[in-house]
């Protein structure tokens, strides 16, 4: 499916977050996107006039890429607004790479913004009625992921303590990240005894509700070589969608990450054993377990044991969600862009106390909807080309 894309043909050269957490009163999603765009262009030394490809996705504007182009005062010939939930930005990377390879654009900016904490979740995304789900009042998305967790616990004996270990590891990473929302330590007992949301999840098994945004800049490998900072080359990417609604997910214990990961590994000519920093979309604690399994870091059903005992925490054997993740760093509605930002920073060696030593290959895995859309991007330093 992705055989048209050339390994290392494009690179992420600029990354930036907008303001995060609880942003200043009155800031719009376009203000946040524009903050991200300005900072990401500064990060790589390119200018707005260089941008000829523009991508965005947000739940708070129906025609967001038009709004963003207007705001920025640019008229890029190539636009993209694929919106498949939190993994949209991993899709955008593949689409930008394709457009660059075809000569449809050369400098693509991918932007995101959300003010869901400031305006409230109900304002930030319109409620959709599904006649086959809405009558049962699932608390979405939490209940959908909770159903998947129930199945994993039933089939593989995964425990609530193992789920909690994911939240605790994320918190330990977050304490090493000055930009993280959460500032205090967390214990397994504290996760288990927090307010129940949708069994088996307490509020600490669920991602944060923050504001935030950001942007990344993607360009051709040739142009990337001449820019300010070391480029993060796109070695592989893959996408898979298995359903939209949780009642249509074929097997609640196997996600599309299996397929997207295989495609990305194949294109990158790498395997899980080569990945040094693993950035996984942890909207809920079960996600990390499912994606570690489906992306081949452990066998199916063994994810619960794998995340226990600090294995994915700082000083553990596998560096997972090194920014603190959606569970403890930030989660402004759709989190996928932040996975890419952190993966690039790890490859550049910019991460201070949370830096993974000699990081040459990083993986960003986006998830959208209710385990619905999965997209994997494998990035590497110049040494991996």
């Amino acid at each position: 499916m992705m055989e048209g894309l050339k390994r290392g043909g494009a690179a992420i050269v600029g990354v930036a977050e907008s303001d995060l957490g609880q942003v200043a009163e009155g800031l719009s999603v376009f203000d946040l996107m524009a903050q991200g765009v300005g900072r990401a262009l500064d990060d790589c030394g390119l200018k707005l006039k260089d941008v000829d490809g523009l991508f965005s996705a947000t739940t708070q504007s129906r025609l967001s890429v038009l709004g963003l182009a207007e705001y920025l005062g640019i008229n890029p010939p190539f636009l993209g607004s694929t919106i498949v939930g939190g993994s949209s930005f991993e899709y955008h990377v593949a689409h930008a790479m394709g457009a660059i390879a075809l000569g449809l654009c050369n400098v693509a900016v991918i932007a995101y913004g959300s003010t869901q904490r400031s305006v409230g979740r109900k304002q930030a995304s319109a409620r959709e009625i599904n006649p086959h789900e809405t009558p049962f009042k699932p608390f979405l998305p939490s209940s959908a992921y909770a159903l998947a967790a129930s199945r994993h616990m039933h089939q593989f004996g995964t425990t609530r303590e193992q789920l909690a270990a994911v939240a605790v590891a994320a918190r330990e990473w977050a304490l090493l990240n000055p930009a993280a929302w959460e500032k205090k330590p967390l214990t397994i007992d504290a996760v288990l005894s927090s307010r129940m949301v949708s069994y088996p999840f307490t509020v600490r098994d669920c991602c944060l509700v923050t504001d935030g945004g950001g942007a990344i800049v993607v360009t051709s490998a040739e142009r990337a070589n001449a820019l300010k900072k070391p480029a993060a080359y796109v070695l592989g990417c893959g996408q898979s969608t298995t359903h939209a609604n949780i009642s249509s997910m074929p097997d609640l214990t196997v996600t599309g990450a299996l397929t997207s990961g295989q495609a990305a590994y194949q294109m990158a000519r790498l395997g899980p054993q080569d990945v040094e920093a693993v950035e996984l979309y942890d909207a809920f604690t079960i996600n990390t377990i499912l994606f570690l399994e489906d992306l081949g870091f452990c066998k199916k059903g063994e994810g619960g044991a794998f995340v226990s005992g600090g294995r994915i925490a700082p000083k553990g054997s596998l560096a997972v969600n090194t920014n603190g993740g959606g569970l403890s760093y930030c989660h402004p509605g759709m989190y996928g862009l932040f996975l890419l930002i952190e993966a690039v920073r790890q490859l550049r060696g910019e991460c201070g106390p949370r830096q993974v030593k000699d990081c040459e290959v990083a993986l960003a895995h986006g998830n959208g909807g209710v385990l619905s859309s999965q997209a994997t991007v494998i990035l590497g330093t110049q040494a991996t080309l």
Partner: protein, 127 residues
């Protein structure tokens, strides 16, 4: 253009109003289709036959929702014996008593005001 097909949702809800859990069967695919639609998602065929479920199924996945106000309640995915899955809830027992593998039987939650009828389940032993 003449209207040559009722909305699948309307047909489904009309069956529910008659205490029937209806689903579609695709002969080309040789399997059940749910939710009701105009094209078979396995073959692309538009030849979908309406059938009535016997109303027996097994809990595939379950959660207990804890709303900020009001009592906790069950949300479950049910695998019906005819080979289709749907979201529903299991009633007549405490929500945390609902468990994967439990045998359940369909009944109708009747229409209320503007809200159409929908299918719910109860444990087979108490139904």
């Amino acid at each position: 253009m003449p209207i040559d097909q009722d909305a699948p949702l309307k047909t489904y809800q009309d069956h529910l109003a008659r205490d029937e859990l209806a689903y579609q069967f695709s002969h080309e695919a040789g399997r059940a289709v749910f939710y009701p639609r105009v094209l078979c998602p396995f073959t692309g065929s538009n030849q979908l036959e309406w059938r009535i479920s016997k109303g027996l199924g097994t809990v595939y996945a379950t959660t207990v929702v804890h709303p900020s106000e009001g009592k906790p309640f069950n949300v479950a995915l049910i695998d019906c014996d005819e080979g289709f899955r749907l979201m529903s809830r299991v009633e007549d027992i405490a929500p945390e008593q609902v468990h994967i593998g439990q045998r359940v039987r369909f009944r109708v939650h009747p229409a209320e005001g503007d809200e159409p009828p929908f299918p719910v389940f109860a444990p087979v032993e108490s139904a």
